[in-house]
Amino acid sequence: MIWRVEVGFNPGVVDASGESVKKSIIEDLRIDVDSARTIDVYTIKAELDEGQVEKVASELLTDPITQISSYNGTLAKDFSKVIEVGYKPGVTDNVGRTAVEGIEDLLNIKFKEDESVHTSRLYLVNGQITDEEAERICTGLLANPIIEHYSIRDERSWFTRKRDDEKYFMVAESHEPLVAEVNLDVDDEELIRISAEGILSLNLEEMQRIRDYFKDSKVLEERKKVGLGDKPTDVELEMLAQTWSEHCKHKIFNALIEYEEDGKREKIDSLFKSYIKKATEDINKDWLVSVFEDNAGVISFNEDYNLVFKVETHNHPSALDPYGGALTGIVGVNRDPMGTGLGANLIFNTDVFCFGPPDFPYEKLPQKVLHPKRVFKGVRKGVEHGGNKMGIPTVNGAIVFDDAYVYNPLVYCGTGGMMPKEILGRESHVKTIKPSDLIVMVGGRIGKDGIHGATFSSTKLEETTSPTAVQIGAPIVQKKMMDAILEARDKGLYDAITDNGAGGLSSSVGEMSEFCGGCVVDLERVPTKYPGLDPWELWVSESQERMTLAVSPNNIDAFMKICKKWDVEATVIGEFQSSGKIHVKYEGKTVLFLDMSFLHEGLPQLKLKAAWKKREFESPDFSQPDDLTLDLKKILSSLNVCSKEWVIRQYDHEVQGTSVVKPLIGKEDDGPSDAAVIKPLPGKKEGVVVSNGINPKFGEIDTFWMAASVIDEAVRNCVAVGANPDHISILDNFCWGNPILSEDNPDGDFKLAQLVRAAQGCYHAAVGLGAPFISGKDSFHNEYQVGDKVISILPTLLISAMGVIEDADKAVTMDVKKEDDLVYVLGLTRNELGGSHYLMTRNLVGNSIPELDVESAKKLYSSLHKAITEGFVSSCHDCSEGGIAVAAAESAFAGGFGMNLNLGDVPIEGTLRDDGILFSESNSRFIVTVSPGKKVDFERAMSGNIFAEIGKVRADDNFKVKGKDGKLVMDANIYDLKEAWQRTLNW
């Protein structure tokens, strides 16, 4: 029996989501409508009688104060168009799942396997809307046809429609699970075809290597014993493709590269080993605990605790479904610290996005590409739901806008965790698995969702891309799983844990087996969302919210009891062994039998070519305006600099009660903080500092200095709030186009050269500043194909920093505090306007990109840290986008005081015009204010560095800048400047 319950608001009650929809239709789609109202629909497929449904409708689904409902008719009336939108069958419907639990509690019943609740929403839109506009409202705003169904009706067709609720539910497939064998004893062309058609993303050499493995007589003999022949099964081929995917093996970063620069050639054996890992080895800090080994990097925090940090990307899924992609991104990266060592509790999130401009013209969008504003809003909402519902404060972030991200938005999600150094006498960062430990899958069930995610992210997006890799995350399923796991962790009930991300069980069980030397898995035990999955699908499905654990048989009962208490599903699916084999069975029959050594070490090294040519952009040639106030306002209003308060406020940054320096600070709680500080241990003084650096505009000129600059930016943001510069760790996160040269990709060697230079810049800055990498991530193929044209993103490197401040109560914020405080600039200003926002407002790029003098930077950071720790600094703000002008203006309006600046006092290199002094984006600089009483102490602490007193905090609201010749070049009211800074994204 299928019942349909509709729930709507009483007349007179504000329908807030209806109002938001109306606003978006008018503002985003530019379609004029009079009103929009919403009605929630619950379609219940269950054996319920009318009395039960009446009770469900009135007592569970309807708020008795604000809502009305109907279970045998419709509430929809008085509309021009009614639009119904709901998830397609098989897509995660969180509300539907929760409704089942509510109905079970209410009626004291249990739903059967084939019973469920589907939710959808009616939008009643009023106004003169054409059919074409109604369609645009659906596809442009309300529905994503990839995962949602929608219908549009007018009054007549609504009231005469036939109900067809069955279509909301999965039709159970009855096919017998199949295992296919694949013949690889074929020619090269056929091997390539097999890889492409199977979405395996393996190249010819890799396919040949696999083919040869299945010809080895010793291998064949052993396969025979377990009932397998000389052809790989589809389960085996899928596991090899997953394990050898770019996503999992970072083949490009480990490739052998022939690199050419200015006619010189050199061979680089692995960018990762030569620059990233090497930097960390050369820095060699004693607080590094576990780096590049586990799902996340681990550093020491204080005597008793370690910190864990990882940032991931979720770009392709977010392009297809921004909400689901970002939600899955954030809950996905949560599982990295959760799956590191014995598992960390999660203490902060940080999110960085790159989008196309929100005012991008609709008519320029290719088919199937979602508008940047919709991507932005969807991603923001996904991260809100993921972060807030998991109860993790989102403490830091950034958003970069550029046309280059219209087709490929970038969604970086990061999560930090903390774990006691020892748990019941065991080192928490070490996984140890004993043969005979049980393999336990915990959390969500497996469906077809996300199949081929690992290989999908290793190819470019196309207009025809099929979106099997999109899923909707379920944060509450994950939250209760995490709560249960942490309880079990503290009781010592498991030996190791890892997450099921890309590659699913294939990846998690495959990796864990390395700790003991093998495993045997019975795949039919794996709980599924619905019947009809083939063994290979069970093995590589990327259904979310799952962890894999190694549990000793002695502890399994106690472990299961905790899971039961938390209503968390946990299933024993096999056991770890020391056989040297991954052995997977389905109903007793072997479906996969692979040597661990081949699986993990058999991958041939990629060999690539890179050729660097420095690009030359038009040299800026314009005279300096007499009044630079307008230029300052323009930069303050620009998308990359402007206030992100609209986004920040929708993230919970207070939860867990750890916040010390919030993302919004100052006199009116709205200034832009440089970095976040949290105190994760109540009663302890140590704090964690989180910041980031990103600047793809610099990458257009030279990725070496881009990399160096963003590392410096991340580190100096940490230092600005008080982090110890000797205790800052960083993560690298490269998002690039396709750097593999081929006929279809004629500038692949240049893109690879950009990568080489970026990696070299990373080494230079990390070693110079003493900030080691502890983990990282790369995402290539951020390209979009329209017809025969490939559009690539800007080479983008995000550096995320996690530092430690010994005493968080000594943290400093960027807002000026008092009138008459002295204003200082720290660091040298050079003629480095290349890639600056000042040139950008003139549609120029320039060439003089900021470089990095690591020695003076390191010295400056150390002195500044001392000055902050001693309490000599009232405010400190990082100088980055928009240079001194923006940094000083932001400090002034955040603090609610005006400021006088004299450009003649600013330490500069060579000759610079006033506009150059104000807007050059030279690295390693700060704007600092100091109380007059601490002038002597501060200057003594800073001696030996380049710095100068350049002005004073005013008692009034005026921001006045004198040029080198003593004439005013800027004169503004701080509240006008603030308004300019706030208005752009004040949605």
């Binding site: 009650v13 504000v14 807030a16 989501s17 109002e19 938001s20 007592e59 569970l60 708020d63 008795p64 104060i65 604000t66 969180n94 509300v95 799942r97 929760t98 409704a99 639990e101 509510g102 509690d105 209410l106 004291n108 809100e384 807030n388 519902k389 998991m390 109860g391 944060p475 509450i476 939250k479 209760k480 208490k565 938390w566 209503d567 920040i648 406020r649 929708q650 993230y651 919970d652 940054h653 207070e654 939860v655 867990q656 009660g657 916040s659 010390v660 320096v661 919030k662 600070i665 100052g666 006199k667 709680d669 105190k679 109540p682 968080a808 109560d809 943290a811 400093v812 807002d815 505090k817």
Partner: protein, 266 residues
């Protein structure tokens, strides 16, 4: 000295449990985090505790409506224990999602000792979005609420919610809550005046931020006093000149002191 025992109730999606644990421990209580299923299966009972805390979070994801699914669960599995808890003279405190649960269960406003009828609700913010911001609160000094005793000034604490608009459809209910002095705290601006958004962050009727039952022992509020325990929680602590007095800790100190003197001594 005898420490009152606090039960911080857990369920799927609750996430401000540790914030509440910290605040109550700081206030001198013995605190246990107890899963609703542990109480439902009678492995533990509420009898052991003097204070019941419904913490913040997103129980069951706020699906269908915030607090609704947990309220429904409690109604069919624990309501009798909870009502007995109240009639034993004990304290119940709900914050944010906890307040939503209490209102939807009918524990508040609890007219004439009826703790089973939902008369008010917490619904979507007028802004249509979740927001994290600090708000000023004015305390009704005529209220009998145990938790706000001695706070005669106004407070500054964060709100973090998307469904915090306190709403009453029937005028008689609103009038009665007001005349009974069950409106304990209200949103206001920095000078203590009622003002619109963003000072009233969600559009609550009469700027209501928290209400108690008639006894003053059962109390719920949307803002988070547990997230203003130390001075460095304050968004402007680095500016030194904090004009606001009082802090969130007082709510917890009051509860612990009351429990020690009036419940434990019985």
């Amino acid at each position: 000295m005898n420490k009152p025992k606090v039960c911080v109730l857990l369920a799927a999606g609750i996430n401000r449990d540790y914030d509440a644990v910290y605040a109550f421990e700081k206030a001198g209580a013995h605190v246990e985090r107890v899963h609703v299923n542990t109480l439902a299966s009678c492995e533990k009972t509420l009898k052991e505790y003097q204070i019941l805390m419904f913490p913040g979070g997103f129980s069951f994801g706020d699906d269908i409506a915030s607090g609704k699914i947990l309220a429904n669960k409690l109604k069919y599995k624990l309501l009798e224990q909870i009502i007995e808890f109240i009639s034993d003279g004990k304290l119940i405190f709900g914050v944010c999602n906890g307040f939503q649960v209490m209102v939807k269960l009918g524990l508040l406003p609890g007219f004439d000792g009826d703790y089973r009828s939902q008369l008010t609700t917490l619904t979507f913010n007028d802004s249509g979005k979740f927001e994290d911001r600090w708000v000023y609160l004015k305390v009704n000094t005529n209220s009998d609420c145990i938790f706000t005793k001695g706070i005669d000034d106004f407070l500054y604490v964060p709100v973090c919610h998307g469904e915090g608009k306190f709403f009453i459809e029937e005028k008689e209910v609103l009038d009665r809550i007001i005349s009974n002095n069950q409106v304990v705290i209200q949103y206001c601006d920095g000078e203590g005046n009622f003002a619109g958004y963003p000072f009233n962050p969600n559009g609550s009727v009469n700027n209501i931020a928290g209400v108690s039952d008639e006894t003053g022992r059962v109390f719920g509020m949307m803002p988070h006093p547990e997230d203003f325990i130390r001075i460095t929680h304050h968004p402007r602590w680095t500016r030194g000149d904090l004009p606001e007095k009082g802090s969130g800790l007082k709510f917890f100190l009051n509860a612990v002191e009351y429990a020690r003197e009036n419940i434990l001594s019985d």
